[in-house]
Symmetry: C2
Amino acid sequence: MPENRYTRAKQPEQVRRALLDCAAAIAMDHGVAGVTVQAVAVAAGVTKGGLFHHFGSKQALIEGLFADLLARVDTEIDAAIEADPKPRGRFTRAYVNAVFTGKAFGFATPWAALSMVVVTDPPLRRLWNDWIKARLKRHRTTDDAPDLQIVRLAADGAWLSYVTTGQTRMSAELRAVHARLLAQTNRRR
Amino acid sequence: MPENRYTRAKQPEQVRRALLDCAAAIAMDHGVAGVTVQAVAVAAGVTKGGLFHHFGSKQALIEGLFADLLARVDTEIDAAIEADPKPRGRFTRAYVNAVFTGKAFGFATPWAALSMVVVTDPPLRRLWNDWIKARLKRHRTTDDAPDLQIVRLAADGAWLSYVTTGQTRMSAELRAVHARLLAQTNRRR
DNA sequence: AGAAAGATACCGCGCGGTAGGTATGTTTAG
DNA sequence: CTAAACATACCTACCGCGCGGTATCTTTCT
């Protein structure tokens, strides 16, 4: 039964998306170590060779995934900022909300797994640093204050705590922290 | 030239220590991915077989390293607490100082590399969770307050920020955060 | 003598990556 | 209009390497 396997519809865009999404999904529930070229390829219904056609190396795949995630975060945060009537702390609030309840890099997202390799991997680290640096510069008129910085750091810490506990749902304690941090961005100091 | 290779002085304690220290050193400047059984063994001047005599598996080695680090942190924090005259926020202050300037798991320690795998590795995660949980319970009379929790979270966030920037020295900005967090533990609320 | 400490040699596996083929699409010459 | 010519997308099969781990032997300590 020599059924021909070369019958795939050619939709490079869709395949690329599928590869990215599958990589994210695998990173999410098998850990970043589970993100092997093979696994991603078969999950996307493609072979390894096909994957390497879109991404020249595993590194390229990871960076692509990372960039994609950052892009989503960007749109999410921009939307939140635009909807925020109060100038001061706009970005910080958007950031905190993104971390705690965001669809892009909140809890229970591929971000959790990926951000770990960010620490290890210099190229990825650069991408992240550039991103946060650019955002801070862009919002320096509304968010450049020591107390807001601490709020953002605490959000990072909360996120880290959440990740290390490995819970799937957010604890009441963390929700309380969330509320408290938001309040802190509104308080006059 | 049949030079005899079995000339090692037998000091198992020292070898064990060397293995742990070398593993830490490698994790520190080659990343956690560089911590291979072979690399650790040769760095400690031992063969793989020798290593496996002390640690039955790689996992055991990692856990041993982790436990060792935690023990150092413990003594460091205990000392700091004992030297602190003011009851409220004792542990939080000790924790913050440990994170920012501590010898055990401050910046530029093997902790940076290791803490990343803590997130990934369930057994290690348990060890960490148990540790912090026990400490918090132990100091609940002095450090169980929402504002102190936020201070600790911010310290974690600062540590994360430091690690992701990959700097070897602490920036002036982070030093300012350090001071600010310490001050926050003393403030009456 | 016997156990602990360590050395040597070897294995299987799964990984990232490559080589070369075959379909499907797009452009262009007659 | 059509068919050759080329480019893109994807597949199959394979490779080398380095890893964690094991089996077995030799030396040293008590």
